[in-house]
């Protein structure tokens, strides 16, 4: 197989997103690609890889832990969302919280039915918490962000299958 191009990866991701698959692993010369619709999922390949811990305590990496092309939120920012599904996006930069307070059950779970005014999460900016509502009637299909993670303006947080 000749060298894999960016367009090839984009085509693969589009195919994956449109499918009902939950995970996909692609291995070609010089590239291993693992994508999952489950937040926080890890590739068996990656998990098996030896940890190469730095000798000295290093600062956390400046680059986002999640590559831009990850289906874990990033790809949906460009708009490749299944027909009839709606992305609920961050109104501004902040820290994402799934529960009203630490230890409390999350506002919503995957598969749960929501109404436009149903609260989905909190976005915190310097201890000021703003709730984000669904804005649509439907069923929560995906939660794209980990609890307590930094989210940016316009980042997709939830995917909701719209239903009347």
């Amino acid at each position: 197989m000749s060298e894999i191009k960016l367009q090839d990866i984009e085509a693969l991701l589009e195919t994956f997103e449109a499918s009902s698959w939950s995970e996909m692993t692609v291995k070609v010369e010089g590239l291993e690609l693992f994508v999952s619709k489950t937040p926080g999922a890890r590739s068996a390949l990656l998990a098996a890889a030896p940890a190469d811990a730095p000798a000295a305590p290093a600062p956390p990496p400046v680059l986002s832990a999640e590559p831009r092309a990850s289906t874990n939120g990033g790809a949906f920012r460009t708009g490749a969302i299944p027909d009839g599904w709606v992305a609920v996006r961050a109104p501004n930069l902040g820290t994402f919280y799934r529960s009203p307070k630490p230890g409390a059950p999350p506002y919503v779970k995957i598969g749960q039915r929501v109404e436009p005014t149903t609260e989905l999460c909190l976005i915190e900016v310097m201890k000021l918490f703003t709730s984000v509502v669904a804005g649509v009637s439907g069923v929560v299909r995906q939660i794209l962000v980990e609890d307590a993670e930094l989210v940016e303006f316009d980042q997709a947080l939830f995917l909701i299958e719209a239903r009347a």
């Binding site: 400046v62 930069l93 303006f153």
Partner: protein
């Protein structure tokens, strides 16, 4: 404390400039951008970009909580505010102080001290820096005439409750002061609900001069000479120069001493500019205000002093002030900056956003361009219209003017309207070449004539 990772809370050329300066010092950079700027040149060069909010500045660049939250959650230990936006809001510096982030600028206390106009005037007086001579509140017209004779005509009649130039009347002699006093009081009463008046010396022909200073944080304050920014339209600077070549050398020295004394009196840290009004006819100057940040026109001082002021800001913030002393700062030659604006001078300087389809800036010896524009860039309607700063440096003013003229001649921009043709005409004018300028020259002498030519 040595810095490791700096958040840049700005956009455009200054964001790019700070990203590059920080990287040259080995710092990691995180750019906090609005949605309109997440693909900008600065965003591409920064190690990481976070999107604060939508394009309008109120929901992105002007939200101090968002900016500091972004700095904390990306592991930044310093924050550079650039100029404009939140750069002179004490609240941003204070939030940084409270959350262990080094603010690349003065302390929040210092920002507050120099930010309040009356408090800053008091500081200036205590430090022995003259402010515009003026009177107390005046009860009667006879009191006003007596005060005016002490101040010296012409005088400006000002409303105590006024602001922004409203309610101001110029009186050239006692007779016109008598005529205008009652009317000014009635107008002030009408406009502000308070008829109280006071007088201030009116400077007929003035230059806007300013001194670039850098407080090292250990009590020492260095200066990097002065700039002349008299070329203004509606208080917006269009061309800036260093040094202020029209001023006598002893006056320039006194300017530097005044600026250093003023900021040393409060132990000022990091970059600041002391703005003064130079009275051409009296060869004297008065304190106007302190800008507690790096300024747009800082490059002209860099060119003549051979320093990088942004790097210096970061070094001082990181607790490693430069080793050099005032005597080590030696000025060479003359530098001029022209602000390239996406504005249409033919249509009342209407902002002209759009896509830049052709961008051919001048190059060559002694020519510097500070810009984040490339061919294909979009000039957003949401922000300031400045798209580039063209800076030239030469051995003396005459050669610098010639270099600027050639550089402007070579500058090609298509896609948006710009002020480049206007700048060419200004730079070719005899008054500019001979440096016979004051703060009203552009609006009162040049622009009306320029308009009549239809060009």
């Amino acid at each position: 404390m040595p810095l490791r990772r700096v958040l840049i809370a700005n956009r455009g050329e200054i964001a790019l400039r700070i990203v590059r300066a920080a990287k040259s010092l080995g710092l990691e950079t995180v750019l906090a951008a609005s949605a309109a700027d997440r693909d900008s040149l600065a965003a591409r060069e920064a190690d990481r970009v976070v999107t604060l909010g939508p394009a309008p500045a109120r929901a992105s660049y002007l939200d101090a909580n968002l900016v500091v939250h972004a700095a904390r959650s990306t592991g930044c230990d310093a924050l550079h505010p650039g100029y404009g936006f939140l750069s002179e809001r004490a609240v941003l510096a204070r939030l940084c102080e409270e959350h262990g982030i080094v603010f690349v600028g003065p302390s929040s206390d210092a920002i507050e001290k120099v930010g309040d106009k009356l408090a800053a005037r008091r500081l200036a007086n205590v430090a022995g820096v003259a402010t515009t001579p003026g009177s107390q509140q005046l009860a009667t017209v006879e009191e006003a005439v007596a005060a005016a004779e002490q101040i010296g005509f012409p005088v400006l009649i000002k409303a105590s409750a006024g602001g922004g130039g409203r309610g101001m009347v110029i009186a050239h002699d006692a007779a016109s002061l008598r005529d205008d006093f009652a009317r000014a009081a009635a107008e002030a009463k009408e406009a502000f609900g308070d008829g109280a008046l006071f007088l201030e010396r009116y400077v007929e022909r003035a230059r806007h001069v300013e001194v670039q200073v850098m407080g090292l944080g250990d009590g020492r304050v260095l200066h990097f000479g002065e700039r002349d920014c008299s070329m203004q339209r509606r208080y917006q600077k269009m061309i800036e120069e260093a040094p202020a070549a029209a001023l006598p050398a002893p006056t320039r020295r006194r300017l530097h001493e005044a600026a250093v004394a003023l900021l040393a009196s409060i132990g000022y840290r990091n970059a600041g500019t002391v703005e003064l009004l130079y009275d051409i006819d009296r060869d004297d100057f008065y304190f106007m205000e302190v800008n507690a940040r790096i300024q747009v026109e800082h490059p002209v001082s860099e060119m003549i002093c051979g320093v990088d002021l942004i790097r210096l800001q970061l070094e001082i913030a990181g607790g490693a002030p430069p080793r050099f002393a005032q005597d080590d700062i030696v000025q060479h030659g003359h530098a001029i900056e022209a602000r390239i604006l996406a504005e249409n001078p033919q249509r009342g300087f209407l902002p002209s956003p759009g896509r830049i389809v052709r961008w051919r800036p001048p190059q060559g010896e002694g020519v510097r361009l500070d810009s984040a524009i490339e061919e294909g860039s979009v000039v957003s309607p949401y922000y300031d219209s400045m798209i580039a700063k063209l800076i030239v440096h030469a051995a003396d003013r005459r050669r610098a003017v010639a270099r600027l003229r050639d550089a402007l001649e070579a500058f090609e921009v298509d896609g948006v309207a710009t002020n480049i043709a206007l700048l060419r005409a200004i730079v070719g004018h005899a008054d500019f070449i001979d440096n016979r300028l004051d703060t009203r020259w552009l609006e009162n002498v040049f622009l009306p004539h320029h308009g009549q030519q239809g060009g």
